[in-house]
């Protein structure tokens, strides 16, 4: 059986990769992908923790982590839909999907 540490290490790696991708990349589509990677790291952590915690599969709250992961997937999908709509409306006006060209609003 693969130990919990392995899952959590993988999840932390994914989260850090997503975070760096968000901070470094300037293409909005890639930025959205990075956020998606972060959210999937969270889902992985939830499911792994669930398996570590739930010794008795019939106990109340034995599937909390898995349920959380499902909600996380649904919310991530909704978030992507809204995000792509915003990117699309930006692209229609500026013909660009680069975050460093979104520089109209500043102090």
């Amino acid at each position: 059986m693969i130990p919990l540490e392995a899952y959590i290490t993988l999840s932390a790696f994914l989260f850090v990769i997503g975070g760096f991708g968000f901070l470094i990349r300037r293409n909005v589509i890639v930025t959205l992908l990075s956020i998606e990677v972060m959210l999937n790291a969270v889902n992985l952590a939830f499911v792994a923790f669930n398996r570590a915690h739930a010794a008795d599969a019939n106990a109340v709250g034995a599937h909390t982590g898995q349920v959380f992961a499902f909600f996380g997937i649904a919310a991530a999908a909704a978030e992507t839909a809204v995000g792509l709509a915003i990117v699309l409306s930006m692209f229609r006006l500026k013909r660009s999907v680069r975050t460093d060209e979104a520089d109209l609003l500043k102090n």
């Binding site: 930025t31 923790f49 570590a52 978030e79 995000g83 915003i86 930006m90 006006l93 975050t99 979104a102």
Partner: protein, 491 residues
């Protein structure tokens, strides 16, 4: 049956939002939507008031725990959020037709966002916290992007969305760690595990840091405030009003609930190894940076955006004081949110009233001399700015007074002094608007703002003005309500 009564504020807003969405799809006449949504939100607030008065003991609200917690704290926020939402819908009813943005989905978005904020304020489990937060944030992103022909709107929405999702992902990872450490997602269960010793581990501290990042982002505290001025400036003004009023209140409800319930153990709440020192630092930074930057703004809307960040700083002072004076400080934060809601909604409403299509009130120069040309539009603006600055006898004075007193009573003299100095700096940029309105004349040939006429906007301003004066002249009743709400939130 009594359970349905206890849940009636949420049910009314949900059903109302769905019905209005249907009505919007099938009707040609968009005029009624503003009235309809205002009525839905007023009804939601009224039901919350009725549940508050009648009491909900024996209503079996325990069966909803830990997912939803119906207590006086959540009922207070139901009323506050419905008030803020109703004022924003009234403003939208005047603003959207004037600026040719009259598309009905704005009202549905606003209602569903309010529903998300209400769920957030009643959430007693990390899962419902997350769902409420996402419902609230997604609606707010859409409302920011509502002016589809405007690059500013799209750009503000893009920044808000990207940073908001990033912060939500960080906070969610904190939730996952909390679940891993404690084995439960209910806030009360986490608190129990923390008290049993889980709060000493490095994992718990790391989780606390991640959760704090998300919480501070949502209330736009420095250094996670960068999105706020851009999103607030880009959004149509009613959406800005809504974000600075209801979305911020929802954020503070989440912050209070999560910090007090889940991280309320002596270890996490201590000055040596908990969240209060981090939050105190953020409060000082927020107040100082926002007040110093607000004074340099030429755009009035952007100035008000920085002002809303500064007010988040004062509120954070109150949140820090909860560490030592639990009920008093919580009540002062709740009362401040009420005064801030009516003053800010009024200030943005007056800004909307001052401009019409083609002659908008954007910069300070646009407002020059408007006090003499159009006294009826300038007078409410002056009142709300004075309230935001905290001048007696307006609501803002007592809001600040109770926060500062709670901070003094819990021994944070240095924090109170910094907050006081900041509110003096803050008075500068509010008074600068008054100087432009009443003591300057516009340069020859310069564009000037011309007020619009709208029954909706006037109604919103009238309601806000009455509340600002009422809260400023006799704050005791609403303070009593805030104290009861704070008592409901067990530590």
């Amino acid at each position: 049956m009594s359970l349905i009564f206890a849940l009636s504020p949420l049910i009314v807003v949900t059903v109302g939002a769905l019905l209005l969405m249907l009505a919007e799809a099938f009707s040609k006449n968009k005029e009624g939507l503003a009235v309809g949504s205002t009525m839905v939100l007023t009804a939601g607030g009224a039901f919350a008031g009725a549940v508050w008065m009648k009491g909900f003991e024996g209503a079996d609200v325990e069966s909803l725990a830990p997912w939803l917690i119906i207590d006086r704290f959540s009922l207070f926020f139901f009323m506050l959020l419905c008030l803020g939402g109703a004022l924003a819908t009234l403003l939208a009813g005047g603003y959207l037709p004037e600026h040719r943005l009259d598309r009905g989905e704005f009202y549905s978005l606003l209602l569903f966002t309010t529903l998300g904020a209400m769920i957030l304020s009643a959430a007693g489990d990390l899962l419902t916290v997350f769902l409420g937060l996402e419902t609230m944030s997604l609606g707010a992103y859409c409302m920011t992007a509502f002016r589809r022909a405007s690059v500013r709107s799209a750009e503000g929405a893009l920044k808000y969305f990207l940073l908001g999702s990033f912060a939500a992902a960080i906070m969610l990872y904190g939730f996952a760690l909390l679940y891993g450490i404690t084995g439960t997602t209910s806030l009360v269960g986490i608190s129990k595990a923390m008290r049993a010793g889980a709060s000493h581990g490095p994992g718990a501290i790391f989780a606390l840091i991640l959760v704090l990042v998300g919480l501070i982002f949502k209330v736009s505290g420095v250094p996670f405030h960068m999105w706020t001025p851009d999103a607030y400036e880009g959004a149509p003004t009613p959406a800005t009003t809504y974000m600075s009023v209801a979305v911020k209140s929802g954020g503070f409800a989440m912050m209070l609930r999560v910090l007090i319930t889940a991280f309320g153990d002596p270890q996490s709440m201590s000055w040596g190894s908990g969240w209060p020192p981090a939050l105190a630092l953020v409060a000082v930074l927020t107040m100082t940076v926002a007040n110093l930057t607000a004074g340099q703004q030429e755009s009035v809307k952007r100035m008000l955006a920085y002002s809303s960040i500064a007010h988040a700083g004062y509120l954070l002072v109150g949140v820090v004081a909860i560490m030592r004076a639990h009920e008093q400080a919580t009540a002062s934060v709740l009362f401040y949110l009420l005064t801030y809601t009516v003053s800010t909604a009024g200030a943005f409403g007056a800004l909307i009233l001052c401009g019409r299509r083609g002659a908008e009130a954007v910069s300070l120069e646009d407002l020059a001399g408007i006090g003499k040309r159009h006294p009826a539009a300038a007078l409410p603006f002056a009142l709300f700015l004075l309230s935001l600055a905290g001048v007696p006898p307006t609501a803002g004075f007592f809001g600040k007074w109770f926060i500062f007193r709670a901070a003094m009573d819990s021994g944070f003299y240095w924090l109170t002094i910094i907050a006081f100095i900041n509110s003096v700096i803050g008075a500068y940029y509010y008074l600068r608007v008054l100087v432009f309105m009443y003591m300057r004349e516009p340069a020859a040939g310069a564009p000037v703002a011309t007020p619009m006429r709208s029954g909706y906007v006037s109604t919103a301003l009238l309601v806000s003005a009455v509340l600002v004066l009422a809260l400023g002249l006799c704050p005791s009743t609403s303070l009593d309500v805030a104290v009861q709400a704070a008592t409901g939130l067990g530590g």
